[in-house]
Symmetry: C2
Subunit: 342 residues, 2 copies
Amino acid sequence: MVGIKDVARAAGLSVATVSRALNGQSAVSDGARAKVLSAAETLGYRPNVVARSLRTDRTRTIGLVISDVLNPYFTELARSVEEEARALGYSVIIGNADERADLEGHHVRSLMERRIDGLLVSPADGRSPTTLDAVSGPTPVVFVDRWIPGSDAPVVRSEGRGAIRDLVAHLYGLGHRRLAVITGPAATTTGRERVEAFRAALSEFGLSLSDSHVGSGDFQAESGRLATEAFLDLPERPDAVFANDNLMALGALDAIRDRGLRVPDDIALAAFDDIPWFPHTAPPITAIAQPTAELGRVAVRALAGLIAGEPATSTVLPAHLVVRRSCGEPDPSSPTGGATRE
Amino acid sequence: MVGIKDVARAAGLSVATVSRALNGQSAVSDGARAKVLSAAETLGYRPNVVARSLRTDRTRTIGLVISDVLNPYFTELARSVEEEARALGYSVIIGNADERADLEGHHVRSLMERRIDGLLVSPADGRSPTTLDAVSGPTPVVFVDRWIPGSDAPVVRSEGRGAIRDLVAHLYGLGHRRLAVITGPAATTTGRERVEAFRAALSEFGLSLSDSHVGSGDFQAESGRLATEAFLDLPERPDAVFANDNLMALGALDAIRDRGLRVPDDIALAAFDDIPWFPHTAPPITAIAQPTAELGRVAVRALAGLIAGEPATSTVLPAHLVVRRSCGEPDPSSPTGGATRE
DNA sequence: CTGAAAGCGCTTACAG
DNA sequence: CTGAAAGCGCTTACAG
C-alpha cells in the first residue's frame, strides 16, 4: 500500500508538508501543493484513516444501532441517517440488534471499541447494561425512536398518542367495539407507549381493553402471527386488531389468511408504521405513519451538535393516521377507485 | 479513556504482558493473567481497535456495498452477511449505493481507506472505475448477486434462467401471449441477464418481445411505475408484465391501481425476487425466489477464505418460481383458500 | 514467562 | 512556508 512517505519522496517534500497539503488546513505554498497533489494522484495514494484516527482521536464515524434491519421502518431510518451523516462529513456504521438485548450489547461495545465519534441508538431492550454504560460514558449518544427513560441522552422520536386516539375514534365510528392490540416488548418505550395510548383512547370512548385482547409481541412478524391466532381462538373474537408495528401486522395477515378469514369482513386490522406495501395489500392497510426520514435527519444533526460540544436537544415529531380499507371503511367505489376487488 | 497502560499499572505488569494476557495467544502465567483480567475488568478497559488495526494491519472488518438498502432483497442479504461474518469474527460495514455509480464509488473508496480486510460488492454500475480499482488491488473482493464481467474476483450469485423459463411456460399456459418486461439497468449483470433469459424463453414458445414491450427501469419503484404507465398507454397493452425486481413490481402496482385497473384481470404481473409481502398483496404475486440468505452466507465464506489466502471460489445457486395469483391462476377456492376476495 | 523497545501511518506543536 | 520529531495505543520480535 502506498503511504504518505512514498508521496513525500515522490514530491521531494517532507511528510509534514504532504499531510498539510492534502488536508488543506494550514498554509502550504502553491508550488508544494501542486507537487503533492500530482504525486498523490499518480501514486494512487489513499490516506490510511486508521492511522489518522489514532493520531487525531476522531474517526468521523458515527454508529447506528437499530433493533431490526428487516423492518422497513428502520431501513428507511438508516437510509436517511446515512444520507444526512454523509452530508455532514461522517460515515455511519450500522449494527442490527435483531430485537435482542445481547446483540445490541455486542454492537454497542464493538462500536465503542472502534472509537466512533457518536452513537445513535434505538434500544431493543431498555435495560441493556452496555447501552447504559455507553450513555454515561464520554462518547455522545442520541436515542432515536426508542429511548431509555432516566438516562440523560437527548431523544429524537415520534409522538403517536394523537394518531392513536384518531385511530380509536376511527374504529369506533366504524362500529367496532371489541378492540385488541398486539404490543411490542414491554422493555421498549415504544412497546409500552403504544398500548398505553391505545388504552387511554379506548377509555375515552367508554371502552376497555380486556387482558385477552392484549397480545404481547416483540415487533417481529412471528409474534404477530401467534398473538392473532390466540385472538381468533377466543370465544368472542375481537372486531379489530391494532398491530403495534408493520411486521406484526404482516404476521397477523398470515394468521388470518391461514384460517381462511378475511380483512376487514371477519376482523379489522390497523398498524403502527406505514410502509410502501400497505396501499397494495388485500385490503390496503390503515396505518399510523411516522415522519421517519425526518427523524433520521434530526437525530444526526442533534448528534453532530453534541459532538461539536453544543447542548443536547431532544425532538418529538407527530405521527398521523392514514386511512385505507382494512378497518371496514366504506368502499370509495369511484371509477378510478383503486385496486378494490368487490 | 482507559488504555492498556492503565491496566498495566493497575496489574503491576508490563503492557506487553497485558496485551498477551488479553489476547490469549502467547503463554502467560496464570497469576499474571488473573491480575490482568481483574484490573481490566475493574477499570472497564476496552481495547482501542484502531490502534490494534494500525499495528496488525488487519481490521477484522469486511465491507458490504449493496445497491439499495430500501430493497428488501438487499436488506435480507445484508442481514445474513452480518450474521455469518459475526460468526467468523468479522464486523461488517454496509455502504448503500442507492443504485448510483458515484455513491458506489464513494463507499468503496471510503471502505478501502478504512483498510477493511475484504469487500463484498453488488455493483450498482458495472463500469464503476473505483470498484474496478478495488478488484485489481490487494484487498480481497467477492461479488454477490451482481458482478463485473471480465474482472477476476469470484462471484456468488443466483441463476434465474431456469426459473424465468418456468415463468414463461406458466404465463403461456395461462393463455398470455403479449408479454412485457421491466428491466433493470443495462449496466448491471442482473439487469441484462433477466431480460435476455426472458427473451430466450419467449422465443422457445414462439413468442417475441417487441421493443415497446421492454420498459427500461433502474430496479427502483418509480421506474416500475413509469414503465407500466407506458405499457398501459399502448394501443395493444400487454397481457402480462414481468418486473425484474420487487421494487419495480411495487411501482407497477401503483401505476395499475392509479388507472383503476386490476391485476390479473386487466393485466397480469410477476416479479423477480420474492418478499414476505407478496403473499398479501392484492392479488398475491407470483414471483421468482432467490436463496438470498444462503447467498450471503456463501459469499462471506468465500471472502473469508480469500482473506485467509485460500483460492477463490465462485458459486451459483438456483432460483425458483413461486406461483400465486397475479397471473390469472385459477382460484384455489378451497374452504381455507387464503385471502382471496372473489 | 516477562519486559524494554520498535514501529504501524499518520498529524501537529515547535523551531526556524 | 517547511521540516524534524514526538506521539496516538496498541502488538510483537528480541532478549533474558
